[in-house]
Amino acid sequence: MTTTDYLLAALIMGGVTFALRAFPFVARHLIAHHPRIQVLGQRLPVAMMLLLTLYAMGVQQWHSLAQGKAQIAAVLLVAGLQLWRRQAMLSILSGTFLYLALMNGWFGN
């Protein structure tokens, strides 16, 4: 990638993100008074976060559940810890450690 490519990538990602973050300040009335957009704002994040989790797990490339064994085990650990202790860093680091251990054979498999 050239310097122009990096700059363009930063401007695209940064520009779209800034526009989204600025939207409620610009279109305050549209958001505050449009019931369907309110419903979207309430319900979309729940569904979207689950979707992004599955996407990051790579489920779209799996042909069987066995392919995702390590991913599934580590995600269950993260979700369980988060429900139990509610400490994001603890959940993330523990899950990542488990995944690294499974993928690199640290448990001797």
Binding site: I12, R21, A22, A56, M57, V78
Partner: protein, 227 residues
């Protein structure tokens, strides 16, 4: 008015998250063979954790600009609603105003929208600045440390999956919206089965359309909710 020293303790939880997560971003960036100094620059110019993680793979694979724009839109779409609860903290004018809007990440939003934590605009702006500093410093550390890590350390990118998992658990916990949760899983299943190559695009498009078409609560309930 609280000084910088007074503001700092508020941001410590975010620091504990942003330093290591920023570092993982730096490591992933360097390991993907991308130009090292663009990692901290991305953290300065873009400042969006999940999107930056996602972009590592996309940029390394030479994904097109349109796909990058769509990914930015989808991953950060939730930010469209954050400002709604931050009007009282928006700086009056100029650069401060623009920078405040630029810096509304998930974590900064949760800190600023928690009632009573931050009371005035100058404090809010300082919180935004401190939080981004942690993210940029973490990134810089990661990209510099990457060379020292053992090669073949597979799976560090699981940190992204873990981050999304935590955000998903917190969303479900806060909203208890099982219908939306089931909808998310159903959309993933359908998209994964029929459109595996356009998974994220197809699934999120289905979600937005279904939610927009969903029957609204009665007007009495709405009036009660929004006035």
């Amino acid at each position: 008015m609280r000084s910088w020293q007074g503001i700092f303790p508020l941001t410590v939880p975010v620091m504990m998250g942003y330093l290591p997560l920023g570092a993982v971003f730096g490591v992933l960036w360097a390991n993907a063979g991308l130009c090292w100094y663009w990692a901290p620059l991305m953290s300065v110019l873009v400042y969006a954790g999940a999107l930056q993680y996602l972009a590592v793979g996309m940029l390394a694979a030479g994904t097109g600009w349109l796909d990058l724009a769509v990914a930015s839109l989808l991953v950060n779409f939730r930010h469209i609603f954050y400002g709604l609860s931050l009007y009282h903290l928006l700086p009056g004018r100029g650069l401060g105003r623009a920078y405040f809007i630029f810096g509304i990440t998930d974590e900064t939003y949760s800190l600023l929208s928690a009632s009573g934590q931050v009371q005035d605009r100058q404090q809010a702006l300082r919180v935004v600045f401190l939080n981004q500093s942690y993210w940029v410093l973490g990134t810089l550390a990661g990209v510099l440390l990457a060379k020292g890590l053992p090669p073949g350390l597979q799976g560090l990118d699981f940190a992204l999956t873990a981050l999304f998992t935590v955000l998903a658990v917190e969303q479900v916990r806060a909203k208890r919206d099982w219908g939306a949760a089931v909808l998310g899983l159903a959309a993933a299943l359908v998209a994964g089965w029929f459109f595996p190559h356009y998974f994220l695009l197809a699934a999120s498009l289905m979600l937005v359309l279904v939610l927009l078409a969903w029957p609204l609560p009665t007007s009495a309930e709405l009036a009660h909710d929004h006035d």
